[in-house]
């Protein structure tokens, strides 16, 4: 388990003073994947560097399994860092070392014997599905394979916490999916706490149990993914599943935006809604899916001549929240990071 307590990072002094991280407070339990998202300049990379102890926080602390790691001397830090495995962006491999030699790095630094290293490296490469690629150099591997090597290396010293710093950025969708599946598998098998820092909302939806949104160094919103998706007022929920453009309603109908707010939405809610309202309901656009076994979604519908309050209450009885389309706020799109 890893927790941050009032973690603050300030660069510069006086007029030049910039607060990059402002009293961050969150924890990632064993077996949990916690995502931090945010636009570029939000402080994501500084957060990553504070968590893997490459940067000292100005104040506040980083605790791993209850032990405070942020007040250590440089030498103690080197030991403490070994308890946190870091997966970097896909350019983090040594170009002149084979996959096996890259995975062996942390063991080499620690001074593990050659024999033990060989056995551990073989086990790790097998674990990430690269047993046959031990002798390949990074340039002979695909982006996804390189990232698997990075994951194996991060796990070499059996850390309890895994930090993924934009690990899937720059990978194609298929590779991203396979890396995400591997991370979930490792989380389940090894009981890891995974802190997943990214700017990709799609990936967050695939990988995380909980998510926090970092903006200007502060966590502006956080929660369990499913709960955020079921809360129509949540900006982060909307950003995770943005509404796409949809067809416009027939001339005599008004447009409504309907979102799933409970687990008990019947699959035939559209028919039921039309039946109970006694009117025509046309489907203009919809996006419904299951995230972690829970159905979430939203739809734009056109309703001909129904009383607004009646519609809202019928929708509520079906586990939905209905709002006139004009009032539906546009999703806050997080700017992508190069």
């Amino acid at each position: 388990m890893i927790s941050l307590e009032q973690l603050t990072k300030v660069y510069g002094h006086g007029d030049q003073r910039t607060v990059v991280l402002d009293r961050l407070d969150f924890s990632v339990d064993a077996g949990e994947i916690f995502a931090v998202v945010g636009p570029s300049g939000a402080g994501k990379s500084t957060l990553a560097q504070c968590v893997n102890l490459l940067e000292r926080p100005t104040s506040g602390s980083v605790l791993v399994n209850g032990e405070n790691l942020s007040q250590l001397t440089e030498k103690q830090l080197r030991v403490a860092r070994r308890r946190i495995g870091t997966i970097f962006q896909s350019d983090g491999l040594y170009s002149r070392r084979t996959a096996a030699q890259n995975v062996a790095l942390p063991l080499e630094y620690l001074g593990v014997t050659a024999e033990e290293t060989r056995a551990r490296v073989a086990e790790l490469l097998d674990r990430v599905g690269l047993a046959g690629k031990a002798g390949h150099y990074p340039h002979q591997l695909s982006g996804g394979q390189r990232q698997r090597v990075g994951i194996a290396r991060a796990l070499a010293l059996r850390p309890s916490v895994l930090l993924s710093d934009e690990a899937t950025s720059g990978l194609d969708p298929d590779s991203t999916r396979s890396i995400v599946a591997l991370l979930k598998e490792l989380r389940d098998d090894l009981g890891l706490s995974i802190l997943f820092i990214t700017h990709e909302m799609d990936t967050v939806l695939q990988v995380a149990d909980s998510v926090a949104r970092l903006d200007h160094g502060r966590i502006v919103e956080s929660g369990r993914i499913v709960e955020l998706l079921r809360d129509p007022a949540s900006g982060l929920g909307r950003a995770l599943r943005p509404a796409r453009s949809h067809e416009s309603a027939p001339a005599d109908a008004t447009e409504w935006f309907v979102s799933y707010t409970s687990a008990a939405v019947p699959a035939d809610w559209l028919t039921r809604l039309a039946g109970q309202l006694g009117t025509t309901v046309s489907l203009l656009g919809a996006s419904i899916e299951t995230v972690d076994g829970a159905t979430v979604g939203h739809a734009s519908i056109g309703v001909a001549g129904a009383n607004a309050e009646h519609l809202i209450s019928v929708a509520r009885s079906l586990g939905l929240e209905a709002r006139p389309e004009q009032a539906a706020q546009p999703a806050e799109i997080l700017e992508p990071v190069a």
Binding site: L54, R81, R82, F88, S95, R96, Y109
Partner: protein, 244 residues
């Protein structure tokens, strides 16, 4: 002025004149390059890591060392050599011969190579240092594995350039009686107008420099997995096919 032909070295005696001189040059450059590598690599790594963003960031010390290196780089070799004669005599007890040439050549070579190493290290992606740190590496382990090892092909490329420059410097040192191929070229070819000897020294110098370049290029290829595996690709893929 006519050239007194009888003063020239007979063709048959030229090998006996130039080959021992070539050996002297090789010994001189060999000793110099050994010193240059032993001092230049640690010094280059130090300068790189004293700079902003380095492992031991220290702007004052970085500026000081950088200035000293720049002074060593900015003096033309002939002037450097002449200006440090007292120092050379203090170290070697003489100011002629190979021993005396090694001192100024090593100083010029170290200054040159320090910059080459520094520049090569700058080409290593900074992520790799972070990877090493996050993997629990000590500063020395970081320098060895994440910096020098990754920059090795580039350093070898620089070393080739540096060695060739030292062959050139050895010829200049030859003018103050350091011996070697440069000395022969100056005394026979230049001062005695012996064109045959001059031509022979030119051929030997060109051949030497070409060989050094060839060996250097080959080493760069061997230390770069990308080009090495490309060259071996047909055999490697055949092996893979047989494994399936």
């Amino acid at each position: 002025m006519s050239l007194p032909l009888n003063n020239n070295v007979p063709l048959a005696e030229i090998p006996a004149l130039v080959f021992p001189a070539l050996l002297d040059t090789l010994i001189m450059v060999g000793i110099v390059m050994l010193i240059v590598v032993l001092v230049g690599i640690p010094l280059g790594a130090l300068v790189h890591n004293l700079a902003q963003g380095g492992l031991f960031e220290n702007p004052a010390l970085h500026t000081t060392i950088s200035w000293i290196v720049s002074i060593g780089r900015s003096l033309p070799f002939l002037i450097l050599m002449a200006s440090i004669v007292p120092f050379t005599r203090f170290i070697t007890g003489t100011n002629i011969g190979i021993a005396a040439a090694v001192v100024p050549m090593a100083i010029a070579g170290i200054a040159f190579f320090t910059r080459i190493v520094e520049n090569s290290l700058r080409g290593v992606p900074p992520t790799l240092v972070r990877v090493a740190k996050a993997s629990g590496a000590s500063p020395l382990q970081i320098i060895r594995t994440a910096q020098l090892s990754e920059a090795l092909p580039s350093i070898i490329g620089g070393l080739t350039i540096n060695t060739i420059a030292m062959i050139e410097y050895s010829a200049i040192a030859g003018t103050i009686g350091a011996g070697g191929i440069g000395y022969v070229a100056v005394t026979y070819g230049y001062q005695r107008f012996d064109n045959t000897v001059m031509l022979a020294t030119i051929v030997i110098l060109v051949a030497t420099v070409a060989s050094v370049q060839l060996i250097g290029d080959r080493l760069v290829r061997l230390t770069t997995p990308h080009s090495r595996t490309q060259a071996r690709l047909p055999r490697a893929s055949r092996r893979e096919a047989s494994l399936v």
